[in-house]
């Protein structure tokens, strides 16, 4: 590092100008606080304008009765009372929780399995790792269309495969049946999420020193015991952070359900976000839509706080 530093400073020495002859801006920026202020300015302005302002605007919208093109009046908590008594909203809350829970469990289990498989030396590993990430990087909407086509009741290749494997005897109505629609949405989400879990967990696995495994093996620990008492505790902090990110994304998921089922059949796959879209943009009831998407916030906050506390504790162990 010393060589890099000295080479770089030699390059700069040629440009050396005494302090007194430097421009006024350079002199102003020499103050740490002023420089920091200038550096933070673009970020803070953009985030205030397009995150903080809409957030408060959303709260204002939610306590009025605004529709598209109709300025609203203050109505207090009426919108929240309305959505609380709304059956579809309750279904959406339940669906969102179910969807988040089930997909997270599967993504974590399968992702961990895949990461453990990839954490070995074999030929073509780099190549395989690159291909495995494809479901995660290809735009969700586009890959979801491929799934929608695979789930098509009349032309479904999945039905053909299951039928010829002897698993089913009649067709499965993937997206038309309320239960199967939820199952289909979950399958696609898991398919898209597993690579992310696997690659992140793989990075975590690679930081675990192989000597720990060797020591455990010498002490007579079998593969399962080594995983349970060496790998898992060391991987826990990384896992918790990955789960935190994934839970937030899944909880607020929109595009996958929008393309696959549109929330149907009969709201069987309706989530927070799809319902907010349907009311706020579809029907133009802006303030009710805003109230619904704001309702995500306290739940999200709770999840985040619980997980952050848990992460803290796992890190200090």
């Amino acid at each position: 590092m010393a060589t890099v530093g000295s080479v770089a400073s030699v390059a700069l020495r040629r440009q050396y100008v005494p302090m007194s002859r430097r421009g006024p801006i350079t002199r102003l920026l020499e103050d740490e606080r002023r420089l920091a202020f200038c550096l933070m300015l673009p970020t803070v302005v953009l985030l205030c304008l397009f995150i903080a302002y809409p957030f408060f605007n959303g709260i204002l919208l939610a306590v009025t009765d605004t529709r598209v093109g109709v300025p609203g009046h203050f109505v207090g908590m009426e919108n929240f009372v309305k959505i609380w008594n709304d059956n579809i909203f309750r279904i959406a809350v339940w669906n969102t929780c179910l969807y988040t829970f089930v997909t997270t469990v599967f993504k974590l289990a399968l992702g961990l399995w895949l990461a453990l498989l990839l954490n070995r030396h074999f030929r073509g590993k780099a190549f395989m790792r690159a291909f495995i990430l494809l479901p995660f990087i290809i735009p969700t909407v586009l890959s979801t269309f491929a799934w929608k086509w695979m789930f098509d009741p009349t032309f479904s290749v999945l039905n053909w495969m299951l039928f010829h494997a002897g698993i089913i005897h009649t067709r499965i109505n993937w997206l038309g049946d309320p239960v199967m629609a939820m199952v289909s949405v979950i399958i696609v989400n898991v398919w898209r999420g597993v690579p992310f879990y696997a690659i992140s967990l793989l990075a975590g696995l690679q930081t675990i020193s192989p000597e720990l495994h060797e020591a455990a093996a010498i002490d007579g620990a079998h593969a399962w015991a080594r995983f349970r008492h060496v790998t898992w505790p060391l991987l826990l902090p990384v896992t918790l952070v990955i789960v935190l990110f994934s839970v937030i994304q899944t909880f607020a998921d929109f595009q996958l359900v929008y393309v696959l089922t549109g929330g149907g059949p009969a709201n069987a796959t309706q989530l927070f976000a799809t319902y907010a879209y349907q009311l706020g943009i579809g029907t133009g009831l802006l303030s009710q839509g805003a109230a619904i998407s704001l309702a995500i916030f306290p739940i999200l906050l709770l999840v985040v706080i619980v997980q952050l506390v848990y992460i803290r504790r796992a890190e200090t162990l």
Partner: protein
């Protein structure tokens, strides 16, 4: 490798790995085969006796041609490219400066600003799209690429800042101090000494930001209305489906071609991309 008999290696390694790879990649194979399949083969029920799912004897580029000549697909590609590049550039600019300030400089409220940025990182787009749509309308930005160029950075900047903060922290302080002792002003030490060393981190943040903006859906769906302004994901969803009729050949061709730029960027920078993922998680 797995110790013991060869059958163990098959059961615990080859079979599960193959199963994972096949199921993760099958939908992409299905996109390709659907694109190349002529319509009369495409719309043949799966229960028909001559249903041949995995190959086609009469490959055709009809769907790709239709997509490129009879729809606005090329316009959507250009729109998405422009919006993604502009949003990525803005986010990198802000993210690099903020990341440097937060990791290297001491100033009042540094800690709370850092926490605030981390919290915005966790705010999903679906929480804000309705009030944002209102604001976009008030700023008269609706139905123009600017609506997206200015709003995409809101979810890209927190990510870039967070990733780059971690990266800047890993660069030894002495590097900068050397230059400062030699008389370089603060901002020059930052621009000429630290930023060049941070190029790999900036590259991963940029690639990640580019793919995230290419992937974004709900803002594009809500803020844009005329067909010529749309991005690829929204255009494919709204214009290639008319009423209840899905043009599956064109849809799959669109899905395939629409993924090409992201896959292309990704294939060149896999390592940077992977370090972006892991960096974003490590925080």
């Amino acid at each position: 490798m797995i110790e013991g008999a060869p059958w163990r290696r098959w059961v615990f390694f080859y079979v599960p790995v193959t199963a994972f790879v096949v199921s993760l990649l099958f939908p992409f194979y299905w996109m390709v085969i659907t694109t190349l399949r002529p319509d009369n083969e495409l719309y043949r029920p799966w229960s028909a006796s001559n249903y041949a799912p995995f190959w086609t004897t009469h490959p055709t580029f009809e769907h790709v041609r239709d997509l490129l000549t009879e729809t606005l697909f090329t316009t959507w590609m250009l729109n998405t490219m422009l919006i993604s590049l502009a949003a990525t550039a803005i986010s990198l600019f802000c993210g690099v400066l903020a990341g440097y300030a937060l990791s290297r400089l001491k100033f009042p409220f540094a800690g709370s600003i850092g926490t605030a940025i981390f919290i915005t990182y966790l705010v999903p787009q679906t929480l804000l799209f309705i009030p944002l749509a209102d604001i976009i309308r008030n700023f008269r930005l609706g139905d123009s690429p600017w609506a997206l160029i200015l709003t995409y950075p809101t979810f890209l900047i927190p990510f870039c800042t967070w990733l780059l903060m971690g990266y800047f922290k890993s660069i030894p302080k002495e590097l900068e101090e050397c230059a400062r002792i030699d008389g370089a002003p603060r901002w020059k030490a930052m621009v000429y000494i630290i930023f060049p060393v941070a190029v790999p981190g900036i590259l991963s943040a940029g690639i990640f930001a580019f793919t995230l903006s290419w992937n974004e859906f709900i803002y594009a769906l809500v803020f844009l209305s005329s067909p010529e302004q749309k991005t690829v994901p929204v255009g494919v969803t709204s214009e290639l489906v008319r009423g209840d009729v899905f043009f599956w050949g064109e849809l799959m061709a669109g899905a395939l071609l629409g993924s090409v730029p992201v896959a292309f960027v990704y294939s060149f920078f896999v390592e940077y991309y992977v370090s972006g993922i892991t960096g974003s998680v490590k925080g």
